[in-house]
């Protein structure tokens, strides 16, 4: 499994960048090319069903990448982690895009 690239600078990622990072992390969890996931998404109407443990792994990768906590205990209830779309919404909710990161990595 390849490592995720280093943390970005002072501003949080925009929506598109975050969505890309989530898809990239899911591809690593599934050991699949990102393109394969995109094809699967296109074939299923734009979203992907995911397992809650896949979602946890994606969250862990993004937390490491961005050095911040992106999910609370309540966020990790399996009902919250059923699809790529719901996972993306969750992370967006915990991290409104464009907000600055402090030096410690958390707001």
């Amino acid at each position: 499994m390849a490592n995720i690239s280093a943390a970005p600078t002072q501003l949080g990622p925009d929506t598109a960048e975050l969505a890309e990072a989530i898809l990239d992390a899911l591809a690593q969890v599934r050991a699949a090319p990102v393109g394969e996931l995109r094809e699967e998404m296109a074939a299923t109407g734009g979203d992907l069903e995911i397992d809650s443990r896949e979602a946890e792994a994606v969250i862990a990768m993004l937390e490491k990448r961005y050095s911040r906590t992106l999910a609370t205990v309540d966020d990790l209830e399996p009902e919250c982690l059923l699809s790529l779309e719901s996972l993306t919404e969750l992370i967006h909710r915990r991290w409104p895009t464009g907000h600055p990161i402090t030096r410690s990595g958390s707001r």
């Binding site: 499994m1 969890v29 599934r30 050991a31 699949a32 397992d51 809650s52 443990r53 896949e54 946890e56 792994a57 969250i59 862990a60 990768m61 937390e63 490491k64 999910a71 609370t72 205990v73 990790l76 209830e77 399996p78 009902e79």
Partner: protein
């Protein structure tokens, strides 16, 4: 009620038979032993009935009971194991995801998961030991030497570096009288070239946990067998104390538990 033995073909049939036995005996039993010939197989109708029951409970109170898939995932996160895609690297991918995801997983499971205990058993000096990997290596070695049986590896409550055994309960650390870990021990055996698994629970809530436990343990057995290139055999699960959760565990009440049992039996009967 004293010791009971049930032997069935798949997870669903075995679980329904065990629940039936528990309900018939007033709700509780000791030394309930359930053998499942194919612990990766289910009857879809039974699973649907149980999922619906648990879904209703979770809508009323989310923390009251876990989903079947969640329970199974605490024993083996099957979404992380990709043998068809990764071949010989699949096990390392699984172990690496467990290590990297552990800080997130521990938010919902502060004391860790059963799978974590299997692959990162806390040693006396806080070093981690991968018991599943050890079991796989031992079995591979047996295969290379042409062994078809492995009683010589099987010694009860062994320390993990020495035997094909996977203790879950950590003496001196796990002092809770209820809750994690209810699963105390796993033991793999090789006979006639087939790998079998025995799991021992000190306490077993059959509606909240039993079905998902059987499924998860079946996946553990399948993983070890596949990685050691032996066929997977039977899962036997010994529950030192088992409850149908009429008044204990989830305390669902006699009428609701009996109705759940009847619905599951009907689903089994409807299976072609």
């Amino acid at each position: 009620m004293m010791a009971v033995f049930i032997s069935e073909k798949d997870v669903s049939t075995a679980w329904v038979a065990a629940l039936d036995t528990l309900v018939a005996s007033g709700g509780d039993a000791v030394n309930l032993t359930v053998a499942i010939a194919d612990p990766t197989a289910e009857q879809e109708g039974v699973r649907q009935v149980l999922d619906q029951f648990i879904g209703e409970r979770r809508r009323m109170k989310r923390n009251s009971v876990e989903r079947v898939s969640t329970v199974a995932n605490t024993l083996f996160p099957s979404a992380w194991y990709l043998p068809e895609r990764l071949g010989a690297d699949a096990a390392e991918h699984l172990y690496e995801l467990e290590r990297n995801t552990r800080p997130v997983t521990r938010r919902r499971n502060p004391r860790g998961t059963y799978f974590e205990r299997m692959v990162a058993w806390p040693g006396p000096k806080k070093e981690e030991f991968n018991q599943l990997d050890q079991a796989v290596r031992r079995l591979r070695s047996a295969r290379e030497r042409g062994h078809q049986r492995g009683h010589e590896y099987e010694v009860g409550l062994a320390m993990p570096p020495d035997e094909i055994a996977a203790p879950v309960l950590v003496a001196g650390k796990d002092r809770n009288t209820r809750g994690f870990p209810c699963l105390s021990h796993l033991s793999f055996s090789l006979l006639h070239g087939v790998v079998h698994l025995v799991a021992v629970y000190r306490s077993h809530d059959f509606i909240s946990r039993g079905y998902g436990n059987y499924l998860g343990l079946g996946r553990v057995l399948q993983f070890v067998a596949r990685e050691s290139d032996f066929p997977a055999g039977e899962l036997t699960c010994v529950s030192a104390s088992a409850t149908a959760e009429i008044t204990r565990g989830g305390a669902f009440g006699y009428e609701r538990v009996e109705r759940l049992l009847e619905d599951c039996q009907a689903a089994l009967g409807a299976t072609p």
